[in-house]
C-alpha cells in the first residue's frame, strides 16, 4: 500500500520550505538540512510507509529526529556557511540574513519553538508535542524568544 506518491509530493511542496528552515536551524548547513529532509520524505515513499492523520507534527518531529541524529554523528564542527534560508518581504537579502542571525543567537530550545510556531504554523500545544515537552514550558520558551526578537525587529509593546 504505502502513501500515494502524489500525497507525498503535495506535502513536500506545502511543508518543504518550513521543514527545510526548521532542519537548517538544527544542523549546520543547508546541504545537511536538505539531506535530512530528503531522508524523511524518501522513507515516506517506501511501500510500507504510513502517514498519520496529522502529518504536520509528524513530519516536523521526523525531521527533528533525523537532524539530531545527523548532528550527533557529525565528526567535526566547522564554521557554518553563510546561506540565505529566508526571503525578506521586500527581497532584501540583508534583512533575511539579520533574521537568521537573530534566530541563530537564540538558545536552541527557544529557536526550535519559534520555528515550529511561526513557520511551521503550529499551535503551542502541537509544537510542545513535537519537542516532547509540556505545553507550559513551550509557551514560556516562546515568550522569551519573542521578547528577544521584538527588541531586534522593533515591534512596540502596546501596554
Amino acid at each position: 500500500m504505502g502513501v500515494p506518491q502524489e500525497a507525498v509530493q503535495a506535502l513536500y511542496v506545502e511543508l518543504g520550505p518550513a521543514l527545510l528552515a526548521y532542519a537548517r536551524s538544527i544542523v549546520r548547513s543547508r546541504a545537511e538540512a536538505e539531506d535530512a529532509l530528503q531522508q524523511v520524505f524518501v522513507k515516506l515513499m517506501a511501500p510500507d510507509a504510513v502517514l498519520p492523520r496529522e502529518p504536520r507534527p509528524y513530519l516536523f518531529r521526523a525531521v527533528r529526529n533525523t537532524c539530531l541524529n545527523r548532528r550527533r554523528s557529525a565528526s567535526r564542527q566547522t564554521t557554518p556557511p553563510l546561506e540565505v534560508m529566508f526571503e525578506a518581504p521586500d527581497g532584501r537579502r540583508d534583512l533575511a540574513l539579520d533574521l537568521q542571525k537573530e534566530l541563530a543567537e537564540l538558545p536552541d530550545e527557544q529557536r526550535e519553538i519559534v520555528m515550529l510556531r511561526v513557520w511551521g504554523e503550529m499551535t503551542i500545544e502541537e509544537a510542545a508535542q513535537v519537542l516532547e515537552i509540556p505545553a507550559n514550558t513551550a509557551a514560556s520558551r516562546y515568550r522569551y524568544a519573542l521578547a528577544k526578537l521584538r527588541a531586534r525587529f522593533g515591534v512596540p509593546v502596546t501596554r
Binding site: 527545510l20 530528503q38 525587529f153 515591534v155
Partner: protein, 121 residues
C-alpha cells in the same frame, strides 16, 4: 498571546523560507547514474575484449616455466634427456653470476673486496 505577539508573528511570517531542492524519488539517483555506469562498464568490457584479442593474435614465446612443468620434465625423462633439460632450464631460470650488475656478481665482488681488506687472498 498578546496582540503584540501576533503582530510580531505576522512580521516574522513575512519572511518566507526558501524552497528545498526537488524531491528525489527513491531510486532516481540510481537511474541518473545508471547510464554513466553503463557507459563505463561497456568501455571496460570493450577494452578487455580488445586486449584478449591482441594477446591471442600474438605468438606466445615459450616461457622457461612452461618447460619446467612436471609434464615437460616427465617427457624429458622418457626421452632420456632429463639432465640436458635441467641444464637448459638452469641457464634460463637461475641468476647468472657472470653477468655484470647481477646480484650474485655484486655480492661476490663485495665478498672478495672484504677478503682483500681483511688481508685475505
Amino acid at each position: 498571546m498578546t496582540a503584540d505577539d501576533h503582530e510580531l508573528e505576522t512580521l516574522l511570517r513575512g519572511f518566507r523560507p526558501v524552497a528545498p531542492l526537488p524531491l528525489r524519488a527513491p531510486g532516481s539517483r540510481r537511474r541518473r547514474i545508471a547510464p554513466w555506469l553503463a557507459g563505463l562498464a561497456a568501455a571496460a568490457a570493450l577494452a578487455v575484449v580488445a586486449t584478449r584479442s591482441v594477446r591471442q593474435a600474438e605468438p606466445r614465446p615459450e616461457s622457461p616455466g612452461s618447460r619446467a612443468s612436471v609434464g615437460a620434465l616427465n617427457a624429458a625423462v622418457r626421452a632420456g634427456q632429463y639432465e640436458t633439460a635441467l641444464d637448459t632450464l638452469a641457464v634460463e631460470m637461475l641468476p647468472d653470476p657472470r653477468q655484470p650488475g647481477r646480484a650474485l656478481r655484486v655480492a661476490g665482488d663485495v665478498s672478495q673486496d672484504r677478503r682483500i681488506l681483511a688481508g685475505g687472498h
